[in-house]
């Protein structure tokens, strides 16, 4: 095995690793800094998903094995599909339970207390 492709893969994996871990860190920072549940959810569902997804991709790429890469891609796809669903469910449940938006909010057009508690 020559050194060229090896080095290229290492650089690509490193870029993915650094980007993914920075996204994860910023998502956690956003979780701490945003004022209410709904804004925090933005940080967790976007930056968090991308962060973990990039790290998974890095692991798949590092193996240099098509089966492992496909598995990592499947994991990434699964992650991207489930993150919005869980964010949506949590936001909906919190809003219906009556948790308020932050005072910075300018508008809330979602009607409250729709009495459909067992449909989720």
């Amino acid at each position: 095995m020559s050194a060229g492709p090896d080095l290229l893969v290492a650089i690509a994996v490193s870029v993915l690793l650094v980007a993914g871990s920075i996204f994860s860190l910023l998502a956690a920072l956003g979780l701490l800094r945003f004022p209410d549940l709904y804004t925090r959810m933005h940080a967790a569902s976007k930056a968090g998903t991308i962060g973990s997804g990039l790290l998974l991709l890095a692991a798949g790429l590092h193996a240099l094995d098509i089966a492992i890469l496909l598995r990592a891609l499947a994991g990434f796809a699964f992650f991207v599909l489930t993150a919005p669903v869980s964010a949506h469910l949590l936001a909906k449940a919190a809003h219906q339970a009556g948790y308020k938006l932050t005072n910075l909010s300018v508008t809330d057009q979602l009607p409250l207390a729709k009495q459909k508690s067992d449909r989720l």
């Binding site: 490193s14 690793l17 993914g20 860190l25 701490l32 692991a59 449940a93 009556g98």
Partner: protein, 125 residues
């Protein structure tokens, strides 16, 4: 600079950044102030743990870790869904009423009136 040196540096960087992220998330879980905030924190904790496992997979060379990460993401998703249903079934928790003025649930007389009025104005627009 050789390939293994680059990888060693970047995995160390990623582990440090992810550890900091875990700490920040734990801080949010401890601070709350409401149950949905903590559930969101746990969700984020699982996401960071998945990233952590992926980095460990690169560092150790055991590709089996990727399967573990995928399984963990499944479990984390199901846990969040279960928690969301629980929050919906339980309704507003008693601790959120007074714990944080931002998340104040019941606008009692006096102090809480001002924010409530501001929200109404926004809603009419």
């Amino acid at each position: 600079m050789s390939a293994s040196a680059i990888l060693s540096f970047s995995t160390t960087f990623a582990l440090v950044a992810l550890s900091l992220g875990l700490l920040l998330t734990v801080a949010r879980i401890v601070r709350g102030p409401t149950l949905p905030d903590r559930v969101l924190g746990l969700d984020m904790l699982v996401a960071i743990a998945i990233g952590f496992i992926a980095v460990i997979a690169i560092r150790s060379g055991f590709n089996l870790y990727i399967d573990i990460a995928i399984a963990l993401s499944l479990v984390g998703f199901l846990a969040t869904v279960a928690f969301a249903r629980f929050i919906l079934a339980r309704g507003l928790s008693p601790e959120s009423a007074g714990a944080d003025s931002r998340a104040a649930a019941v606008p009692t007389r006096g102090k809480a009136l001002a924010p409530a009025r501001r929200q109404n104005k926004g809603g009419r627009r």
